[in-house]
Each structure stands twice: as C-alpha cells, then as structure tokens.
Amino acid sequence: MIFAVELVIWQLELVIYLFLALSAIVALEVRDLLVAVVMMTVFSFLMALLFIAMGAIDVGFTEAVIGAGVTGILFVVVVYQTSRKSKD
C-alpha cells in the first residue's frame, strides 16, 4: 500500500491546523455567544476535513454531520433561551 504514503499533503494539513487553532481561540475569546457557536461549527468542520485527510472517512462524515449540523442548531436554541452576551 504505497499510495497511502503518497497521499499525505503536509502543506494542506498545515493550513488546516492553523485555521483550526485560530477558530478555537476566536470561539474562546469572543463576547457574543452566537459568534462563538458559529466558530465552534467552523472548528468541527475543519476537524472533519482533518479526519478525512488522515483517511478516516467514516469518522469525518460523522463529525461533519453531528458537529457542524445538529450541535450548531441545538446550541443556537440554547443561546436564544438564555442570555446572548457572555459576562466573561
């Protein structure tokens, strides 16, 4: 199985890692909780891209559907039922 070694594109993964860290920092530091939820879904989507780049397609599919789809909707409902601004 030589082709599994050939498929690793480290430049693409480096860019994804940088955006991953950036979205995590923004989701932690921002005051508006709706923006934090959106950045968390962006984090989940980039995580799914990383899983697919590593070859785990089923895990990446589950992460993209659950983390970037359903969890985002549930967190938006929670934000609308509580306060929108973070005190921290």
Binding site: M1, A4, V5, L7, V8, M54, G55, D58
Partner: protein, 102 residues
C-alpha cells in the same frame, strides 16, 4: 494571572508536540501496528476481519461489516445509549413546558 495561563498552555503544547514527534509515520506498512502477526506470534484479530469481510457478508465496505455484523452487539448498546439520552431529555424538559404554556 493571564500570563500564567498562557504559560501553562504553552508548556502543555510543548509536551504534546514532543510526544507526537516520536509517533511512527502515517501509512507506514513496516509499522508493528499493521503487521499480520504480533510480537508473540499470534495472529492479530483484525486480520480475519480484513481478509474475510467480503466473503462473509458480500459487502465491500469493511467498516459496515465490522460495525453491523461482527460487533453488532456493541452497536446495539450504542443505540440504547442514544435512546436513553432522548428519554432523559423528554423526562426532564417536558414538565417545564406544560407549566410554561398552559
């Protein structure tokens, strides 16, 4: 306090990068994890699944065969866990809804 927090985070990031630098390469077929036999000479259990999944279930996707056939009781427990989570949200949140909207 904030500087201490960032310092602790950088320290743990350095530990994790140092630990990850010792891992084998991805897709390395010389690695011991992908070998057909373990060190003690016994055949690894996953070898049977990889070699005989299509013969047993006529399904090209190996992951589906392992999740649905060889380890189906594991999947059944997972589904019971999800079902229990749904029932718990029903039991906790339903009473409040009746009180809020008569």
């Amino acid at each position: 306090m904030k500087a201490l927090k960032i310092l602790i985070l950088l320290f743990f990031a350095g530990i994790m990068i140092f630990a990850a630098s010792d891992l084998p390469n991805r897709g390395d077929q010389e690695n011991l994890m992908h070998a057909e036999e373990s060190i003690t000479g016994t055949v690894v259990k996953g070898t049977y699944f990889i070699q005989n999944a299509y013969r047993d279930a006529r399904t090209p996707n190996m992951v589906t065969v392992v999740l649905g056939d060889y380890r189906s009781i594991d999947t059944f427990g997972e589904q019971v866990v999800i079902y229990t989570a749904g029932l718990i949200t029903l039991l906790i949140l339903r009473k409040g809804r009746r009180r809020m909207t008569p």
